[in-house]
């Protein structure tokens, strides 16, 4: 077993890539040691700059991770916990993970992930459900996933020397500019259905442009078929009575409206709450009650879209678009989203993703600079 001090970024990248193979959705698809190294290079300027001094412009620099990171994760999906731990382990920090109290799926995923790491790395992670007081003070950085109250709670406890990275409530949506693109309904259904909308990348509302390729109502019918098919091969996880009742309540309300208003329509699973598609012409962004319930609406004129998103703007995360092109993306720069991706890829950001618009590794590290050293030294430090 390697000494912790002799473990390089490459060693950690290889171990993490191997461990994450069991969690294909945690960090996006196709995660290899090489693209983890590339991620470090893109964020910090050199792939091995965590290991020692490396050239950085006219000087040498070394990135220093926090000695200890406290991760506070939410119970909605295991992915946030695995992403946060991946970041912490990759940086070489010691990691303290505060697990949610009633989320066995998160605890199980974390345990499986740690079991897949070599002991030299899994030993760098401690977990607890109850947050020990000493943990907070020992952390050089605090990463929090949770509600606005949770974020505010931890922000209020920070000392001046502690870094703080917060991931609060986030909502995502989709815009279909051309509904005639093949396979789009299945792709959109996958975006909605994966993780049962518990994650911040799950679309709540899908706007569909009305054009020759089709319209929102027809697309709503197509996505309903696709959500039914998705549910047949990937059933939704069980939900509690309160969550199911929320879906039924919303369904009943919209069924009533649909019976009285031709601008509303409803598709739903029979004798279960497995999936629900609500078509509504009202352009206001609609927030789903989660667990595979999505709103489909005609795309209003783009210049009016910011107004329809106004109430949720501070919380916007991703917009999935089809077709996914730079020209379409440019149209959406003022909406307040921090990620634009192709429909079907909502749930699979790459490690290069700026979550909530922030760099991850770059935000976490401090720097030591070494100036006035001749180029020979640079060569001698090269890996």
């Amino acid at each position: 077993m390697k000494e912790a001090s002799s473990i390089t970024t490459r060693d950690r990248a290889e171990a993490l890539a191997a461990a994450l193979r069991g969690f294909p959705h945690a960090m996006g698809s196709e995660l290899t040691a090489d693209n983890i190294m590339e991620w470090v290079r893109v964020e910090l300027g050199h792939a091995e700059i965590l290991d020692g001094f490396r050239p950085r412009g006219p000087i040498l620099s070394k990135a220093n991770p926090p000695r200890t990171i406290l991760h506070v994760v939410a119970g909605n999906t295991p992915n946030a916990a695995l992403q946060s731990l991946t970041l912490g382990v990759l940086s070489g920090s010691h990691n303290l993970l505060k697990l949610p109290s009633a989320a066995p799926a998160v605890s199980e995923a974390v345990q499986s992930f740690l079991a897949a790491l070599p002991a030299s790395l899994s030993q760098s992670v401690e977990c607890a459900v109850e947050l020990p007081d000493a943990w907070f003070l020992s952390a050089g950085a605090v990463i929090v996933y949770g509600s606005d109250e949770t974020v505010a709670h931890f922000r209020g406890r920070l000392r001046s020397w502690q870094k703080f990275i917060a991931h609060g409530h986030r909502l995502s949506f989709a815009i279909i500019f051309d509904a005639a693109i093949s396979g789009l309904a299945a792709a959109a259904a996958r975006d909605v259905s994966l993780f049962d909308q518990q994650g911040c990348l799950s679309p709540h509302t899908i706007y569909v442009a009305e054009n020759e390729g089709g319209g929102a109502r027809a697309f709503a019918g197509q996505i309903a078929v696709a959500m039914k098919e998705f549910n047949e091969h990937t059933p939704r996880l069980p939900i509690d009575a309160g969550a199911a009742q929320e879906i039924q309540h919303l369904r009943s309300s919209y069924a009533f409206r649909a019976a009285n208003d031709s601008r509303v329509d409803l598709w739903q699973s029979e004798k279960s709450t497995d999936w629900t598609v609500i078509y509504e012409e009202e352009p206001q962004f609609a927030v789903s009650c989660l667990n595979r319930l999505v709103f489909v609406k005609p795309l209003p004129p783009l210049e009016s879209l910011p107004e329809h998103l106004r109430l949720v703007r501070p919380h916007l995360s991703s917009v999935a678009i089809a077709p996914c092109s730079e020209s379409h993306a440019r149209l959406l720069m003022s909406l307040g989203v921090s990620r634009i991706c192709a429909v079907g890829q909502s749930q699979m950001p790459t490690p290069f993703w700026h979550q909530d618009g922030q760099a991850s590794l770059a935000t976490l590290v401090d720097w030591i600079d070494l100036e006035g050293i001749k180029s020979e030294f640079r060569c001698s430090t090269k890996a």
Partner: protein, 365 residues
């Protein structure tokens, strides 16, 4: 010889009036048996299919016009009362002389329950009070006066109770929402120990009162022996919720009333009848003309006794709107039509990454 109806309005008025008389007579008589309840429920359902166009279209869309048992009557969710463009009323909404509105929180649409007459509504309060053996005591109401609260169903109920119960007491919240704590304490302190009273209010109003008592040390009261407290739940918009045992300990500490002398009233603006329970851990029960079913949220069929689901109510007194109401409240089904509430409005509970959606909408206002 009665005048023959000559217009749709006359026909509606005549049918509504006859139905209301039938319902009130049934309330006055002995408890409704299953057969009589079913007969009346189907009569009210047919009346509503005929005169409540929005509901009739909903029922038709479900293929549910052919109903032969009250449990098959399609229920509407309480949210439907919020859509102003679809007033949920038999006949014309303009002709409906009375309306109650839900309180609503910031940024939330308010629901409206229309009534052509409050004859059945008032009868439901009065006869349920008598049939369920609720206390016949002077009312000290920790609420606004009914005249200051014209669109509140609770305010109206307080008005009915003030007329029905022995004189004394009154309402102790000012129009501006300020609690007249000194006047309330003074009124209660002058009572002799053998003059029991009924003190009624929302849970939130009681909490505010108790906090004032705590701030003004040693101002707790001991109500006369035999007094009863009735709390109606309700923390809406306050962001505060207390578990029932904790709330009831506060009653004991501040008013000297033990849990078995505390009644919880369960109702809502969208209903016209009330359900009651005493103490903790006991099921709510209503009058024989309002029947609750606890329904599986996945299948929408009634759960077995001891299982949890959400509450649907068929309330014959909802004669002017829709008699079958789907609530947001979770409960455990008890024997003989009772239910034990396990949480009001569970949708308000946060879950998921985007969980406090309502709250963030509110914050963004």
């Amino acid at each position: 010889m009665p005048r023959r109806p000559t217009s749709p309005t006359d026909a509606f008025d005549a049918e509504r009036s006859a139905l209301a008389k039938w319902i009130v007579a049934a309330m006055r008589a002995a408890d409704l048996g299953d057969t009589e309840f079913n007969e009346l429920a189907l009569a009210v359902f047919r009346h509503q299919l005929r005169w409540n166009g929005a509901y009739a279209r909903y029922v038709q869309s479900l293929g549910g016009e052919h109903v032969d048992h009250w449990t098959q009557i399609p229920a509407v969710s309480t949210d439907v009362f919020k859509w102003e463009s679809l007033p949920l009323v038999c006949g014309s909404p303009e002709a409906a002389r009375f309306r109650f509105r839900t309180s609503g929180t910031t940024g939330e649409a308010r629901g409206t329950h229309y009534f052509h007459s409050l004859d059945v509504y008032d009868a439901s309060i009065e006869f349920a009070w008598k049939k369920l053996g609720l206390p016949h005591l002077p009312l000290y109401s920790v609420t606004l006066a009914p005249a200051d609260w014209p669109e509140s169903s609770l305010g109206h109920m307080v008005g009915v109770l003030l007329r029905m119960l022995p004189e004394g007491g009154g309402c102790f919240i000012e129009k501006d929402g300020r609690l007249r704590a000194d006047a309330l304490r003074a009124s209660l302190q002058v009572l002799s120990p053998d003059q029991p009273v009924l003190v009624l209010g929302t849970a939130l109003a009681f909490l505010n009162w108790f906090e004032q008592m705590d701030a003004d040390s040693d101002s707790s009261l001991t109500l006369p022996s035999g007094s009863v407290v009735m709390e109606t739940g309700g923390y809406k918009g306050s962001g505060r919720v207390l578990e029932k045992p904790e709330l009831y300990r506060l009653f004991e500490r501040h008013l000297g009333v033990s849990a078995d002398r505390i009644i919880n009233e369960y109702s809502m603006t969208e209903l016209s009848s009330q359900f009651y329970t005493e103490g903790t851990g006991r099921p709510h029960r209503g009058p024989s003309w309002a029947r609750a079913r606890v329904v599986n949220p996945e299948t929408r069929s009634e759960v077995e006794i001891g299982e949890r689901g959400y509450v649907e109510v068929v309330d014959l007194a909802n004669v002017d709107s829709v008699l079958a109401i789907q609530t947001r409240d979770l409960a455990i089904r008890s024997e003989r039509g009772g239910f034990e509430l396990i949480g009001r409005d569970p949708g308000a509970l946060p879950r998921g990454c985007s969980r406090a959606a309502d709250e963030l909408m509110r914050n963004a206002q």
